[in-house]
Subunit: 332 residues, 4 copies
């Protein structure tokens, strides 16, 4: 028996999830895709053997759908989680799981009450190198965690329409991956406070666009973490992590698209990956497989609503720190 | 419509193929597994939703099977190819496609006559790094090919039962991958002759066991290639390639299992892959997907019986060179 | 004609400088070593063909000494610079060039008045990889500088006697290298303010010992830099830099002691360098050669007192930020 | 007391040796350079504080010269070794130490009779990574040696004047480095026979120019070694080694000129070294320091005439193998 999945949102990441569910997750079947834009869902769904529909509501509670994968606009995430849970459907939701801690708490409560799975899309936990780093740390290979770094850089030269980027995107959409990664690589520790240094460097005329940010997080075990993001990496999509412990260091992340190296008059060249889908396809497959298996086995997934809440609390503190210019407490 | 596949041979590589077809190749359905050893096929097949059977003959020509994947003993390959073709089934066969050029020719002829696809298991062509190397060469990035190297080393300390290793295994089973890789990375060129230096180093008392071999191949475009194999790499499974051209060099292959690095008092450590299935899972998926698509689209696969023949001709010349101690011509 | 050098301070770094001057800088001759501890200077100097003496004063202004290399205690640096300058001797001084901006200014003024060279020991500028990074940035290869990182980690498990470490050592002795590196890799920009997160992690009972620190610096060109230090890297001495620009990124630093790789059952292992002298010998040679050549050619060295001042101003702001917990301005 | 050195031959490698002796080997003093071409020696020698002369004979036996460094034409090496020895001077000679085993034997005999040091210029033994590989092997880290590879590729697109390249240059001048390296990395073993595959690929109209060669050597401990050379590596000077043992593998050689990496739209780029002097300067310094110390300490150097003989014996067998097309015995 496979898990019958309905996908909400046929944008870039939704399309990637649809193809991965249909092609690479035998534990799941893609049944339907819903997107309010006329024709968009059908164009994606039909070649994958699923139906497309514009009516998102009709998907929530549909008889032939066990679980929904939410890849809609972030502002809709919390409401969709609650509605799906109330309809008895399991939920995989892209990050963030809501636009406030209150929203996220509502989703956690609704899914808990309904007894359904809630998993959030922190895909980096399923990337082989980050996973190996996590295991090395858990296995005591580097001792006590002391100093961490997590980096996310989007490829290109910055947003094509800076005005279209919602105000705190760099914290709530981009660095939220790093916040979860840092929490996960510092097991058992809790973030205390943050201090943000950020700026609008690709589009100086757009002061509300933060396109580069460096966040320092202090944890209750004394560890000091740095999270760095940029919306403009000319050399490709760059996701890296580094953890120094009392007994050693682990590093993860390598932007090379394959281990092929071209040597010519320029030097030795490694081609770099230019997209998250390209670099992260195995991680996406891993998280969606994990979701299907958690649903199938009626167990908690390895990434929970609480994880989403903890990462969002850091993002929220970042907004406060940026606005005040001072250190800000992370809500517990 | 998916391609309905019957697998012959539930050994190590057969089991890997079965799981990959069932889980990672949506273009194909694993319908049945046949293995003459009682219960072996069923144990593998049933959890994958397929039937297991001891009767291999019954699979050849079964109504519900479009194509067979042959992972049986090498000595049976040619006969199985011919039988499947005569039954109108498409064929994916593990290397070698036969134990002599005559056997391989019979398979090629039978599949051609039946109008069915014949693809041979040269998985390295589907490994991302080797593929990128091939594309760089084809795209003229290194100019004219001049000097090549291909290496295959099996993990461990050598065969546990040296007497059980068939005489020319290192040429016909191991280096045959390298011979195909070298042919493929030297596009349009033909191997002229070989000279072999080989020995029994892990089990000196077993002179017929060749466990280390270095083969130099001369091509008709002047290129000089080296193929090296060992059955005893203590550090893991090692597959690498290197091509020097008039304008540069490409290299492929990196034995690290992930890009995670552990730094401790020992130094900076990359864990290494210890098995072909671990290192090559994407390549196996790629070749089986290619096969399913070639069958579906009624087209020639990208690895053909002629490729199998060309690689085997080099293996055969290696046997002759080893026996004579001299250079041996490659049959055309 | 070679520059006749007197070295002050025969500690670890002084001994290294003595050997490098004597063996690897043909433009200079080591004439004398002075260290107030009985016998210490002689033990170092004599095998190198120089004289050892306990009287530091006698070295300042000695007829046979053109230039002094100051590797004494940091608290003595400023006074020694002034005295040497007044005696007409050129000065190479280990960092920091003083314990306050006022001290550094006095050294700058005294050397300027005397018309002698003042160079400060920012050796990283002479490391081949950092130098190549600097040149790539200067050559416009990565466009406008936006986000930087510089890391220094000392090998081992932390100070053996935490009480013996002067209070702000991590800023004034260790990170000062990173501050200079960041200034140098962000050409023409000026540091505006800093925010420090730091702690005592190796010796929790010693709150005044800061052994891990992460500093974020904001520059007037909008660039955001992170400087990280640790006194306890179990895997060796670790010096790295990274600069993201609008057109690409440069990275420098690789802790491997050679390009030899050992592959065994543990994996693929790169031995790591465990000391600054080991990792930085070419950089030390480079800076001392530069000094001798600047003296010989009567020109300004490539690392000046102003550079020392700019780096120290950041260190000073770090102390203020650590004490207040808030962002602190960098004095101009 | 330093060793007073006279250099014979002011060509490319002679000039490099002169500068290294003068600047980086404090145990030695460059006293004179001799080159029969008018003015060439003086131009090199004078800025280094040495005298230049056209009379090579006058250098042999000069009162103020303890040792000669021979970087003259290969055909003159043996005669110069004998003459210097007869004049009581110690000898460092570039490879090869003669153009036949007989010539080399005469040099060995003359230096032995005179009781002077004879060291041959196998610089790779002093490269840090090869040295670390040698030590790992000697320390038992990879067990028994089984399969080796050594590569030398000269940068560029091949000889500008193919007719000017002496017939067997690739064996006697280039691969002789690899032969020595392989002997040294397979301690205690003796080369038995070789088989050569070689061709003229950069200048097909010049059949006597061998510009690419792959040599397989069989050792008396069963080990199988490959030595590969090319005169035309578009990507730079490439020197690498690899040794597989029963317990692991060591690799050495990395063509990157520094550890700086530039990441741009092309990918991640490591600049490559384009010359032996650039890549090998520390190795040259090491071998010349070793020579000066061996002379000073009246001891055998770590690279001897016997090593030169053993490597030349392989080169000689290569010529025979190339001419016959068959395997050739290595003279003992």
């Amino acid at each position: 028996m496979t898990i019958r999945i309905g996908l909400i949102g046929a944008g870039r990441i939704g399309a990637s999830h649809a193809r991965i569910i249909a092609r690479r997750v035998p534990e799941a079947t893609l049944v339907a895709v819903a997107d309010p834009r006329p024709g968009v869902a059908a164009t994606l769904a039909e070649p994958l053997g699923a139906r497309g529909q514009t009516d998102v509501e009709a998907l929530l509670g549909a008889d032939d759908i066990d679980a929904v994968v939410i890849a809609a606009s972030s502002t809709a995430h919390a409401e969709l989680i609650v509605s799906a849970a109330e309809a008895g459907q399991h939920v995989f939701c892209e990050k963030p799981a809501g636009m406030s801690l209150e929203e996220i708490d509502r989703g956690i409560a609704a899914t808990a009450k309904a007894g359904v799975v809630l998993q959030v899309g922190f895909n980096r936990r399923f990337a082989a190198d980050f996973r190996a780093a996590h295991e090395a740390i858990g296995g005591g290979r580097i001792g006590a965690v002391r100093q961490l770094r997590s980096v996310t850089r989007d490829p290109g030269s910055g947003p094509s329409d800076p005005d279209a980027v919602p105000p705190w995107t760099i914290f709530t959409q981009t660095l939220i991956h790093d916040f979860d990664t840092l929490n996960w690589l510092n097991p058992g520790a809790r973030a205390l406070d943050v201090v943000v240094t950020a700026g609008s460097l690709t589009a100086p005329g757009h002061p509300t666009l933060l396109d580069h940010a460096t966040v320092v997080i202090r944890y209750d075990n004394g560890a000091i973490a740095t999270a760095e993001a940029s919306f403009a990496a000319a050399y490709g999509y760059d996701v890296r992590g580094e953890v120094l412990g009392s007994g050693g260091m682990v590093t993860a992340g390598d932007g090379a698209s394959t281990s092929m190296r071209l040597h010519d008059a320029t030097g030795r060249i490694a081609a770099t990956a230019h997209g998250d889908v390209e670099l992260m396809v195995d991680a996406y497959t891993g998280e969606l497989t994990e979701f299907a298996m958690a649903v199938r086995d009626r167990r908690a997934p390895s990434v929970t609503g609480q994880d989403a809440r903890a990462a969002f609390a850091i993002a929220q503190a970042c907004i406060e720190s940026y606005e005040s210019g001072a250190r800000a407490q992370v809500a517990s």
